[in-house]
């Protein structure tokens, strides 16, 4: 038997993941020996490892598709860009959460550690080359998130939503795995690049394959939070501590996008006709339920949860177009959405105080009197999320709708436009409450300097990317040719 050479594994391509695993182990070990007073070291180390991972990713960036570890790992420019975005998102999420966690006595190393393992799961999914890797990435991410939701052990609501999330998530993972196993059984391969050919050989219209595809779609839809697999979204967003909601609402969306791209667009691209119709149903339902139910919400976290569901519908619109334009538009939408969502949840964290969550819409009453600047930032974020020009959310919606119209689904674009008009109502309500209602108290906005500065940058990013959307669009076009 020939001895396998280490060099044939092409390990250097996967340096970012290897670095991240080492960093996680270091953070874990250091955290054990820290006293509660010096817990900031864990926080600093976590941020440092994110910076390190970014440097490693840039240094080992690839200009074309490369595989490693016997095809289980794929590196491509899209993966590099998405990874860098994921690092940034997680770093911003950590920094937003810092003050809140400190005030609530939740400032423990495990929040950061679980955040980093979730990030590792996202990275694994981003560069997954086989269905097995995809699944392990999904598990790594989901398990971290379940634990994060239940992180505040004194909160009954959090424990309940974690339990719901765990049970439903386990079923969804099982569904995904079942779909993978059927596809594997019929094609005989787990490798995504071999799957492309094998599916054509077997025949994309084979009933067994479509049966397996339906299970895969159900699993993906659950991870996205698309209707009718959305039941966990409002409860988890509402029940989890706000920093965890912020985390769940942002970085994992990148993972969901990449999950759909790797499995559907890369692995099963021959079956586009089958998954297109399934995704149309999911997208339309998500936009309807998400936008209509969001109107009735009084809790801002719950409202943003339903708004997420409707945005997922838009991301799915881009993917279901099944064209390069559509994938690019969906990527642009995902990245824009992550920037907007992290800002909106960041505002809740900024306004929260000791014993005050600031997660109801009425908690934003008269924010303009208390802090005109942060009212303006929130207004920009809400306008952008609603898709009002000149903010980035508008261009994201435009790109996705363009891709859908290009493949001849004009009615779908019309439905999407109509429902975004409905959506405008509840975003504008937040703005109305901030500008035209009397404040309930006269307490000034607390919040540390870092959070203030970051939120300012976050709000301005939404505006600047909206005025100059070219840079981000070009980036998506360059990495997804």
């Amino acid at each position: 038997m020939s001895e396998p050479l280490l060099s044939s594994l092409n390990l250097s391509v996967a340096s970012a993941e290897i670095f991240m695993v080492c960093a996680i182990c270091v953070v874990l070990l250091v955290d054990v020996f820290l006293s509660d007073r010096s817990r900031w070291v864990t926080y600093a180390l976590s941020l440092l490892s994110l910076v390190g991972a970014a440097i490693v990713t840039v240094k080992t960036g690839v200009s074309a598709r490369e595989t490693a570890l016997e095809g289980a790992y794929v590196a491509d420019p899209m993966g590099d860009v998405l990874k860098l975005f994921a690092y940034g998102t997680v770093a911003v999420a950590f920094m937003y959460s810092h003050d809140y966690l400190r005030r609530r006595g939740l400032f423990k190393g495990e929040y950061f550690l679980l955040g980093l393992t979730a990030l590792l799961g996202i990275m694994v999914m981003i560069s997954a080359g086989s269905l097995l890797t995809v699944y392990l990435g999904v598990e790594l991410l989901s398990l971290s998130l379940y634990a994060m939701v239940a992180f505040d052990r004194d909160s009954g609501v959090a424990a309940e939503s974690a339990m719901k999330y765990f049970v439903l998530g386990a079923i969804a993972s099982g569904t995904l795995l079942y779909g993978f196993s059927i596809v594997y059984g019929l094609t005989g391969t787990l490798q995504l690049d071999e799957l492309v050919l094998a599916v054509r050989e077997v025949g994309p219209d084979r009933i067994g394959l479509i049966f397996g595809l339906a299970f895969i779609i159900a699993g993906i839809a659950f991870k996205f939070g698309a209707v009718p697999f959305h039941m966990w979204v409002p409860d988890v967003y509402h029940g989890a501590p706000t920093p965890v909601t912020l985390f769940i609402g942002t970085a994992p969306k990148i993972a969901s996008y990449v999950l759909a791209i790797r499995v559907l667009a890369e692995g099963l691209d021959a079956m586009v006709a089958s998954w297109q119709s399934m995704l149309i149903a999911l997208a339309v339902l998500s936009m309807i339920i998400g936008n209509v139910v969001a109107i009735a919400q009084t809790n801002l976290k719950r409202m943003l949860a339903y708004s997420t569901i409707s945005h997922v519908g838009f991301i799915l619109l881009g993917i279901l177009a099944g064209t390069g334009d559509g994938y690019r538009a969906a990527m642009f939408y995902t990245l824009a959405y992550v920037i907007m969502a992290i800002g909106s949840f960041g505002m809740i964290l900024l306004l929260s105080r000791e014993g005050f969550e600031a997660d109801r819409i009425e908690d934003f009453r008269g924010l303009n009197r208390k802090s005109p600047w942060f009212a303006a930032v929130m207004m920009m974020l809400m306008f952008s999320t609603a898709g009002v020009p000149p903010f980035v959310g508008f261009w994201a919606k435009l790109a996705v709708l363009g891709a859908v119209v290009d493949v001849g689904l004009v009615w779908l674009a019309a439905v999407a436009v109509l429902l975004s008009v409905v959506a405008a109502f509840y975003y504008l309500r937040v703005i109305k409450v901030m500008y035209f209602d009397e404040p309930a108290d006269s307490l000034a906005v607390e919040g540390g300097g870092v959070v203030r500065a970051l939120l300012t940058v976050n709000g301005l990013a939404v505006l600047i990317l909206g005025i100059f959307p070219g840079a981000l669009i070009d980036l998506c076009a360059r990495v997804l040719p």
Binding site: M1, P4, E70, A72, K108, E110, L113, G137, L140, A147
Partner: protein, 210 residues
């Protein structure tokens, strides 16, 4: 019949009996022990099929770890059988339908085999010196190295998550802290009160006097 075949049938028969025991035993502890017995027998059948690594893993992992844990749970939780059987008649029709479906499925698979469709050729005898364990190991550490390492990360995460969610530093625990015991000083433990010596008064009872 060769000796292998005799062994196979013997162990298979015991396996079937043990499996029946799992679902018929009234006592949950007995059922769990029957399951252990069934695992042992299937491990032997795997050995007969020359899958010695899987056989050993089955015994080590399932019998050694999983079933013992299971027994602990069964013994520690006071399972009320009467309560569990409450919905029996209500769910019986559904159970019967599923049972019939499974029997029909198994029957059809066996029938198709019998008709000669999808006939499998007999397994090729392995060459001399072939090691099951070595072959598995080589595959795990080369082709499936990445998933293998990721699975290790998932396990590490599971440990961390379990500890995060269950470990609590409660106040008032009687745990021993040796450093604190050594560092303790007399004035932390006892309060020395200066007071004047008292004479025994006339009225006090005689037995209290020294």
């Amino acid at each position: 019949m060769t000796i292998t075949e005799i062994l196979f049938y013997a162990f298979s028969a015991v396996l079937v009996v043990a499996a029946l025991g799992v679902i018929t035993a009234r006592n949950p502890v007995h059922a769990a022990l029957f399951l252990v017995f069934a695992f042992f027998n299937s491990a032997v059948i795997w050995l007969l099929l020359e899958a010695e690594f899987l056989a050993i893993v089955l015994v080590l992992v399932y019998v050694g770890a999983v079933m013992v844990l299971f027994l602990f749970v069964v013994m520690m939780l006071d399972v009320d059988l009467a309560q569990m059987k409450e919905g029996f008649t209500r769910y019986a029709p559904l159970g019967i339908i599923i049972a019939v479906l499974v029997v029909v499925e198994i029957g059809s698979v066996v029938w198709v085999k019998h008709l000669g469709v999808g006939q499998q050729s007999a397994a090729v005898a392995v060459v001399e010196g072939y090691s099951n364990t070595r072959a598995l190991g080589e595959l795990l550490y080369t082709k499936y190295l990445y998933p293998f390492e990721l699975a290790a990360m998932v396990l590490l995460l599971a440990i961390v998550a379990a500890i995060v969610l269950t470990m609590r530093h409660r106040a008032g625990l009687k745990a021993q802290d040796i450093a604190a015991q050594v560092a303790v000083r007399a004035k932390d433990r006892i309060r020395i009160v200066k007071m004047d010596a008292e004479k025994p008064s006339e009225t006090s009872s005689p037995e209290k006097q020294p």
